[in-house]
């Protein structure tokens, strides 16, 4: 009886210890992601290989579906389930393509993670600095980290010098839809074209 009880306590202790070991603060999470991204970009390999590795990193660390929903703005409430499913697929392809293309331009970025600011149980903003080089000045980058599941934090936005990429993306998408008198299909076609090229 006592042995059983001791075993149960031991198992609970091990599970608790394991959970603690894997639960990262948002700041640690961003440090890990930026360090991985930097290692990928530093490698002397083909651009295509770099892109594949960056895509894999993005799939693990970015809430692509969440960003997709945010980006759709008011239209997410008025499109059909089927359209939403199609949009999710198209947005994932679009996001990963543009993400890897944007990042692969940097050869050896040095990002110093500075601090984190807790907003609420769902969000923490992590602040960092992209160190200046010969071509560009120092850039302040804030990361909106979605922490609803603290054991699996995910990036939802990059705020560069106070400018939100997710918001820019949303306004861009909404501009395409508004320009087509609210026809979401036009956005889908634009995304298909982008993903194909």
């Amino acid at each position: 009886m006592l042995k059983n009880f001791t075993n149960k306590i031991l198992i609970i202790f091990i599970i608790f210890s394991l959970n603690s070991a894997y639960a990262q603060t948002p700041e640690e999470f961003i440090k890990e992601v930026t360090s991985k991204a930097s290692s990928i970009l530093k490698q002397n390999i083909e651009k295509n290989q770099k892109s594949q590795q960056l895509i894999s990193l993005a799939k693990d660390s970015v809430d692509i579906n969440g960003i997709g929903m945010y980006t759709l703005g008011k239209y997410k409430k008025i499109i059909s389930e089927e359209q939403l499913r199609e949009y999710t697929v198209l947005f994932n392809q679009y996001f990963l393509k543009s993400f890897s293309s944007r990042l692969s331009e940097y050869s050896d970025p040095k990002i110093n993670v500075i601090s984190q600011k807790y907003l609420n149980e769902k969000y923490t903003i992590v602040s960092s600095i992209l160190v200046a080089d010969d071509k560009r000045p120092e850039i302040k980058i804030d990361w909106r980290v979605y922490t609803k599941n603290p054991k699996n934090p995910l990036i939802r936005d990059l705020i560069i010098e106070g400018l939100s990429l997710a918001r820019t993306q949303r306004e861009e998408f909404n501009s395409v839809i508004n320009g087509a008198d609210g026809e979401v299909e036009v956005l889908f076609q634009t995304l298909r074209n982008f993903n194909k090229n």
Binding site: D63, N65, G66, M69, Y70, G73, Y94, S98, S101, R102, E105, K117, L119, K122, Y123, I125, D134, K135, R136, P137, K140, D142, R144, Y146, K148, N149, N152, L154, R156, D157, I159, E161, G162, L163, S164, R167, T168, E171, E172, F173, N174, S175, V176, G179, L187, T190, L191, F194
Partner: protein
């Protein structure tokens, strides 16, 4: 006098927020949900395309050439241009009620113009007069509660709003000491060329610092015009609020309803 009347009329129009829409109807501003109305979108897109062509043919190549110059030279140029901009920032600090900052920026101007040799060097930052943020007449009007009006794209100068574009006219009516001593007054030391060269260099310096970012944004945009518009308006909001805090400049409620795990 004509200039003054024009500016006055523009301000009155801004304050009452009445503008002619693209279809010619006068109506109240359609500013909704914190979004800036793009009343002249067709015209704006045309001017934007013109600016892009101009950028491709002239500005980007010049910016690329400028970047080949030694970084110490570029840094000195950037410092001197920042120093000149203080003559507009300081009166705007005062008009925004930020007297302490006006004093700090005045001290910065004196130190850098003298010890820093016409602003080429920045000794002021080394003695605690750092974190300089430019202020302009549009920002002052915004802090006074004047609405931004519709979004505008100006030929050569790029994105703006009706408020900011009309406020910039103050620079040519006595509100910019650098303009006054170069273009407006016939002084022995400066000429019109100095003013226009400084304006041109400011543009080239900015473009040179953002070559990759601009190209990257353009390549990955499905509507480049909308991306630039969004970035410009976000940047203006940040500058008007004088805040680096994300929670001050962004509406978090949009994110709250997005649930994925």
């Amino acid at each position: 006098m004509k200039k003054f009347v024009f500016i006055l009329i523009t301000y009155l129009a801004l304050i009452t927020n009445c503008f002619a829409d693209t279809d010619g109807n006068i109506e109240m501003s359609k500013k909704t949900n914190g979004e800036t109305k793009d009343c002249f979108e067709g015209l704006n897109r045309g001017v934007f395309a013109f600016n892009q062509a101009l950028d491709q043919i002239i500005i980007e190549p010049v910016a690329k050439g400028y970047r080949l110059l030694p970084s110490a030279f570029r840094k000195g140029t950037s410092n001197a241009l920042n120093n000149i901009s203080l003559v507009v920032t300081i009166p705007n600090n005062v008009l925004q009620g930020d007297i302490g900052l006006a004093g700090k920026n005045s001290a910065r101007f004196v130190v850098n113009s003298t010890i820093g040799i016409l602003g080429i060097f920045d000794p002021a930052s080394k003695i605690g007069l750092n974190d300089y943020e430019k202020e302009d007449w549009g920002q002052t009007l915004a802090t006074w509660g004047v609405g931004e009006g519709c979004y505008l794209v100006l030929p050569v100068l790029g994105p703006s709003t009706l408020r900011d574009a009309s406020a910039s006219l103050i620079n040519y009516s006595g509100g910019n000491a650098w303009y006054n001593i170069t273009v407006d007054e016939d002084t022995r030391y400066f000429s019109d060329f100095d003013y226009y060269a400084s304006r041109g260099l400011t543009g080239v310096d900015f473009r040179a610092k953002n070559i990759e970012s601009f190209n990257n944004l353009e390549q990955n945009s499905i509507d480049f015009y909308a991306s630039v518009k969004s970035l410009y308006l976000q940047d203006r909001k940040k500058r008007i609020l004088n805040s680096d805090e994300i929670i001050d400049t962004m509406d978090d409620s949009d994110w709250e309803e997005i649930e994925t795990n």
